[in-house]
């Protein structure tokens, strides 16, 4: 099961990229995550689903390094990850979007997406103070990378707009662009479809599939829309009250009685 294989639609799923082993996370007296283990394989689209309050966002925060679990280990690319600050986690190649949009409202769309390139931009402060030369060259190179993403997500018209002025759907797209700009190994999406209408969801689904297909990016996403989850993902993890109650392909999970009771429900005739 840890060897790579080819999916029916021609994508390659590789070995285990991220492995969460026995994660337990507590806030004071509340246990938000209770001894959960699951893995994410390279190149796949992994969905994390479950009712509100199940601990899904907390799990993403553990992966990002923002929360530190009291128990358990995180293994990334075959090595145990020591407790590290979120910015070091970002440098390892993990990027994400947020449930309540976390864009930098004081900056333009372009600047926000350029922020995604920060882990790739290395010139020192003295070079930047002079600007001409190394700093300007690096800026132009990274600008080119960012423009490719702007083209990909079709947001050329708004690149100089201050982010605060954008409608919700566009903000979500800009946030996705910022995460993509980092060229991550693992992309975490926290409810990317929240608040969208059917057309917007179709656009976003198409973008997510394209990202996975063209760039080979591994994606883990939290999502409530079951149609989206079942269509997009290769495997699904189901959480409820901090415990894992289901783990497998969409079909396997759809038939799991515990999952049906806790979350999916039954169609009424």
């Amino acid at each position: 099961m840890t060897d790579s294989y080819i999916t029916p639609d021609g994508r390659t799923i590789g070995g285990v990229l991220m492995d969460m082993r026995g994660i337990t996370l507590r806030f004071g007296g509340v246990e938000a995550i209770k001894n959960i283990s699951f893995d994410i394989r390279e190149g796949e689209i992994r969905a994390i689903i479950g009712p509100n309050g199940a601990g899904k966002s907390s799990m993403l925060n553990v992966i990002s390094g923002f929360y530190h679990p009291q128990d358990g280990e995180v293994w990334f690319r075959g090595a145990k990850r020591p407790s590290m600050r979120p910015y070091d986690v970002a440098r390892q190649g993990i990027a994400r979007t947020f449930q309540n949009i976390a864009l930098f409202e004081g900056m333009s769309v372009l600047d926000n997406i350029m922020c995604g390139r920060l882990t790739h931009m290395k010139t020192g402060i003295f070079s930047q103070a002079i600007w001409h030369g190394a700093a300007q060259r690096e800026e132009v190179e990274n600008r080119e990378a960012v423009e490719r993403i702007i083209d990909f997500l079709e947001i050329q018209a708004i690149r100089k707009t201050p982010v605060g002025r954008l409608p919700y759907g566009l903000k979500k797209r800009v946030e996705l662009a910022r995460a993509l700009a980092a060229e991550p190994k693992l992309l975490l999406l926290d409810e990317p479809m929240a608040g969208m209408n059917v057309e917007e969801k179709e656009d976003m689904s198409r973008f997510i599939l394209d990202v996975n297909d063209e760039f080979g990016t591994t994606i883990a996403l939290i999502e409530h829309d079951m149609g989206v989850v079942m269509d997009l993902s290769d495997r699904v993890v189901v959480m409820d009250y901090g415990r894992k109650i289901g783990d497998g392909t969409p079909d396997e999970v759809r038939g799991n009685q515990e999952v049906i009771d806790a979350y999916l429900g039954v169609a009424h005739d």
């Binding site: 990002s64 390094g65 923002f66 600050r85 979120p86 910015y87 986690v89 970002a90 440098r91 990027a95 994400r96 947020f98 976390a102 864009l103 930098f104 409202e105 004081g106 900056m107 600047d111 350029m114 922020c115 995604g116 920060l118 882990t119 931009m121 010139t123 402060i125 930047q128 103070a129 002079i130 600007w131 700093a135 300007q136 690096e138 800026e139 132009v140 600008r143 080119e144 910022r178 995460a179 980092a182």
Partner: protein, 358 residues
């Protein structure tokens, strides 16, 4: 119709990220520089230099510094006076200990020393945020003023506790000391402002500026996408203090010639520079110029109107100055929290479309 962007397309990313993308702006900028460097030095007199231009230039440097820390990086600091004091006293010690080294080097070194001190006092910003941080910077302010008052080494054990700038020359022309010409004072400050503004502009439009603004806007998200908050905040404190230190060094050596730390660099100074930044516009280099100009000109204008024109006694005018400045500050904060820079931006936007309304 003369302020157009239509037809002015940028064909490279370099051109797109330049400071003045609109041609008219660029020409205006060069014109201002030409007047500043080529015209004013020949027509300036003592009054204009000492009352208006020299303090304007010096405060602009301080405002740029504080703007970087507070406007771009979002770390509110009320310690500006104390850091200017560091610059001034560093300058004094350097001038008196190494009299053969050029004054220009001393100013830069004074800035560097202030940068280190600023970074040290910036360490609490990693744990303390927002308003609490502003109050914590007051610890720096009060402690530094006390330090320069009490530790006699700083003022070379002089009996008065005051520090005096010895006469120094650049290229044979006096820039400090009582015999300095008005235009010499003006020029040395002008050169420093130009260089500082260019550096500040470069830093804020690149990676560093984006890191700072990310921390300002949402520091948790910033950390998650890869910004090291320690590095970003300490750099902001260091760069900001570098500029503020230069400003303090020039304030002491070129502008006043002699200072007593309590009066010159007390908390009122910190508030003054913060007002310049806020009225001028947070997060804007132009705003630093505008704010400094406004707050240097206003008391002068009020005094001219009140004392010279209307003949009122100076203490009444001084009280009125407080009333009017206080009222103006509240007015600006209500009407345009983004300061004069925003007024300017809106005016330019309207000008772009003129004579059409939209």
């Amino acid at each position: 119709m003369f302020y157009r962007e239509a037809g002015d397309f940028k064909t490279s990313y370099e051109a797109d990220s330049q400071t003045f993308p609109i041609k008219f702006d660029r020409y205006r900028f060069w014109a201002v520089l030409a007047v500043a460097y080529l015209v004013i030095p020949f027509i300036i007199n003592d009054y204009w230099a000492n009352a208006i231009l020299v303090p304007f230039l010096i405060y602009t440097i301080a405002a740029i510094g504080l703007n970087i820390l507070t406007g771009y990086c979002g770390q509110v600091s009320l310690g500006t006076g104390g850091f200017m004091a560091v610059g001034a006293y560093a300058m004094y010690k350097l001038m008196t200990s190494f009299p053969d080294v050029s004054v220009v080097i001393h100013v830069i070194l004074a800035g560097g020393i202030t940068a280190v001190v600023g970074a040290a006092f910036g360490l609490p910003s990693l744990r303390i945020k927002g308003f609490y941080l502003a109050v914590a910077t007051l610890a720096a302010q009060f402690f530094l003023v006390w330090l320069f008052n009490k530790v006699a080494w700083f003022y070379n054990y002089s009996a008065s506790g005051q520090i005096n700038a010895p006469e120094r020359f650049v290229g044979g022309i006096a820039v400090t000391g009582p015999n300095t010409d008005a235009w010499a004072k003006y020029m040395i400050c002008l050169v420093f402002v130009t260089v500082c503004a260019i550096i500040a502009r470069n830093l804020t439009r690149g990676t560093m500026g984006r890191k700072w603004m990310a921390i300002r806007d949402m520091d948790i998200a910033a950390e998650i996408i890869g910004v090291n908050p320690l590095q970003a905040k300490l750099t902001a404190f260091a760069v900001s203090s570098f500029f503020i230190g230069i400003s303090g060094a020039l304030f002491f050596s070129v502008y006043l010639g002699a200072v007593e730390v309590g009066e010159a660099f007390g908390i009122q100074k910190s508030f003054l520079v913060l007002f310049m930044v806020i009225i001028g516009g947070l997060g804007s280099i132009f705003g630093s110029f505008a704010g400094a100009g406004f707050l240097v000109l206003l008391p002068v204008a009020l005094k001219v109107i009140g004392v010279d024109l209307l003949g009122w006694p100076t203490d009444i005018v001084a009280h009125l100055q407080l009333v009017i400045i206080g009222a103006l500050i509240m007015f600006f904060l209500i009407k345009e929290p983004h300061g004069l820079a925003q007024f300017w931006r809106i005016a330019k936007e309207k000008l772009r479309l003129w004579p059409f309304p939209y």
